[in-house]
Amino acid sequence: MISDADLIDRFRGHMLSRDNAAHFRGRLDHQLLIDRCAECGVWHHPPAPACPACWSMSITPTAVSGTGTIHLVIFLHQHAPIPGFDDAMPYPVVTVELDEQPGLRFTGTMVGAANDDVVIGRRVRLDWIDRDGEPVPAFRLAEVAA
């Protein structure tokens, strides 16, 4: 397993802590780990050391299916330069309501979709992109059933 120091170095653009380290370790394996309560099963995000539903401190970062529905969407028309960043503007950022639990959301970019198709209510699934060596969770439109 990658050391704590190396993990922090791999994710220099993020504020890593002991509470979210497992989530970022998961990213290295292309696993989206979201905190889940071992007592009552309720999910929460961002990572935190206690369950907001039952106050248990027994929290298990757990992989989610990665499927969900676009809840919020913005398009960046400008952004500071980032190594390995696809600077094609407007750049979509979506907040996806994950299927695991109502109100449980994760924010990332969209890949493989025309911006006109990135709208609130569309179904999406998790994918991964590489940004200058950093695995970044992103979303794709879910295949439409035939």
């Binding site: 653009g13 961002p46 190594p83 109100g103 924010t107």
Partner: protein
């Protein structure tokens, strides 16, 4: 469980308010310099000297720096709560009420820094002042101010309205700023100007976002009794509150109908002696246009998604701004969008001046009550009601 208990009601007062003016450019002065100028100004207006101030509460700079700079002889209470500015007002009000201090100097230094305008990096002192990021910025987020852009998309989606509703806030503010000599932007704008403004993060454009400025506001908060002995008319704090919900991260709040604003409204309304029917002026915070629309709806002027229609119904063609029932203005100083991004200190300063009768060309005739709702949705929604003494 929201308490309706309000023992501070009308026992603590603003004795004065002062500003340096707000400038939408990198001036060759420090943030501390502006804050100190505003503090000296308000203390002189109130007739107070360095021996009279025993409380210090600001955003930037740190209280100890302010005390030393002004040579305040004996300070028994000080704090630097997080912005927006009602955090400072609430802390100082509580401290005065509890007797931790009697005369609190309360201030906010607004300053153009790289987090609110990249142009700040052209000033080597500002660039040096910025905390050095350990890695490249992350674009895949709605954390921080971007959260309002994200919920703006939801506002359009849920309520089936257009960006023109956002534009009404921008136009109202700019029209009002025309009579405010300290405002950063005073040229009137049209809906065409709004709709053709440069897009920054869809759905919000340049005119949806407040203007980064250099400048400062300062206030004296003291007991109502002491304020009556000072030089200016006191403005009494009727009620003050902050508000948060259990899920307050930018992308995790329950939704537009349940975030910090609803908590603020329930508490403030229960604690105050008046509400919208009795308010002579309303200050919906406008760091981003959709925040103001939400406040207009949440205080009860209209239902969810109806703020745009409400503003159109109460639009005064003569001033090209809102006058509710032909009378009550929204953000008569121009708000953060036109006066400058003050984290609410500009709204508070304008309210105090209006209720003191010191608002110059934009004085609202006979104004005796003001309802202020600074801050946004997440961990920064706030409320304040003020009455003339």
């Amino acid at each position: 469980m929201i308490s309706t208990h309000n023992p501070i009601k009308n026992t603590v007062a603003f004795a004065g308010a002062a500003t340096t003016g707000l400038f939408p450019k990198n001036t060759e002065r420090s943030q501390t310099s502006y804050a100190v100028e505003a503090c000296i100004s308000v203390l002189r207006q109130c007739g107070l000297g360095p021996d009279d101030v025993d409380g210090v509460c600001g955003s930037f700079p740190m209280a100890q720096r302010m005390q030393e700079t002004l040579g305040l002889t004996s300070v028994t209470w000080f704090a630097n709560p997080h912005i927006p500015f009602i955090n400072q007002v609430a802390a100082a009000t509580a401290a005065v009420s509890a007797g931790l201090c009697q005369v609190a100097l309360v201030y906010h230094g607004a300053y153009r820094l790289p987090w609110n305008t990249s142009a700040a990096l052209r000033d080597p002192f500002r660039a040096a002042d910025a905390s050095i990021p350990t890695g490249p910025p992350n674009p895949d987020t709605v954390a921080g101010a971007i959260g309002y852009t994200a919920w703006a998309s939801r506002y359009l989606h849920e309520y089936g309205v257009t960006k023109e509703d956002f534009g009404l806030i921008a136009i109202n503010d700019r029209s009002n700023a025309a009579t405010n000599p300290t405002a950063a932007m005073r040229e009137p704008i049209t809906m065409d100007d709004y709709l053709s403004a440069r897009m920054v993060r869809w759905p919000l454009c340049l005119l949806d976002m407040d203007i980064a400025v250099d400048g400062a506001d300062a206030f004296v908060i003291t007991t109502a009794e002491r304020a009556r002995d000072l030089a200016l008319p006191p403005v009494l704090i009727n009620a003050v509150t902050l508000g948060m919900t259990a899920r307050n991260s930018e992308d995790q709040i329950d939704g537009l109908r349940h975030h910090g604003q609803q908590v603020v409204i329930e508490a403030l309304r229960a604690k105050s002696d008046f509400w919208i029917d009795g308010a002579d002026i309303f200050f919906p915070y406008d760091g981003f246009t959709p925040i103001a629309l939400n406040w207009i709806e949440n205080v009860g002027y209209c239902g969810p998604g109806e703020a745009g229609d409400f503003m159109r119904q109460h639009w005064d063609p003569a001033t090209n701004s809102v006058r509710v029932n032909g009378r009550v203005p929204f953000n008569p100083h121009g708000g953060s969008l036109s006066e400058g991004a003050t984290q609410g200190s500009g709204h508070v300063r304008e309210a105090v001046h209006q209720l003191q009768g010191l608002a110059g060309d934009r004085q609202v005739a006979g104004a005796r009550t003001a309802l202020l709702t600074p801050g946004g949705f997440f961990f920064n929604a706030q409320g304040l009601t003020l009455v003339s003494a």
